[in-house]
Symmetry: C2
Subunit: 147 residues, 2 copies
């Protein structure tokens, strides 16, 4: 895969989602990128940690802020395999992150269901990159869960 | 102050807010109560930790879940000195917390500005207990900041 493309970084987020899958978590993964360098990674750990706040994006935000030693992520990009929920969108608002790329939409729990303008007015949002493999992974997880 | 009243627990949240104030943080504090026992405490630490996710409520939720060894806070009550923001309301949604009591309203950043039904449909919300001292503390903080 070509380096430093949106597909490259979304694939890195997908790798995080696959770790979640292997660990029995709803498979969502995220990376945060600054100047084409990944400075934060996260995957959903709500079951392992028994903590509803341990979403992929939240872990990636904290990780990126630790890396930078600064709480604002203005020049950063988030790549996440599923549309952020309102909690994560609220955290992204506070971070003033520059760009958000999400793969699959979440018509049930995605932030767009809550309020279309939850993110910071300066944040640009893009969706659909690698939506199919991201959605397939979620579908496979719930199929396995039902069996 | 009489034990185990709403005022008692909100005063405990206010004590947390005062710690935040002393540490130069926007003074918001929270406690989570189960069976009249405080099982989680938190105060805003976004500056110290340089982490936008370190709101009082988020820290209290993680702390209470760790105490219980369980991520759902169905039979718990949150007392927080300021109306939760959308991030914290989103986390409270996932926790399915039983009751939320907030002191002062936040007409600018409170979750009601985002969406009135962000919390879980089973969560009961109450506001206004000790709103004045909670608001006074926030006002004093911003007054000091401007000086």
């Amino acid at each position: 895969m070509e380096l430093f493309t949106h597909e490259y970084f979304m694939n890195e987020a997908l790798k995080q989602a696959k770790i979640a899958f292997e660990e029995g978590e709803i498979p969502v993964g995220a990376v945060i990128v600054s100047k084409n360098k990944i400075i934060g990674r996260g995957y959903n750990q709500t079951e392992k940690l028994q903590d509803v706040t341990a979403h992929a994006e939240m872990i990636a935000i904290t990780s990126a802020a630790n890396y930078l030693g600064a709480k604002y992520l203005i020049d950063c990009r988030l790549y996440v395999t599923l549309e952020p929920c309102p909690m994560c969108a609220g955290a992204l608002f506070w971070s003033q992150i520059g760009e958000v790329y999400y793969a699959a939409s979440d018509p049930k729990r995605g932030f767009h269901q809550c309020n279309d303008s939850m993110l910071h007015p300066k944040t640009k949002v893009f969706s659909g990159i690698m939506a199919e493999p991201a959605q397939d992974l979620v579908n496979e997880f719930f199929k396995k869960l039902r069996e």
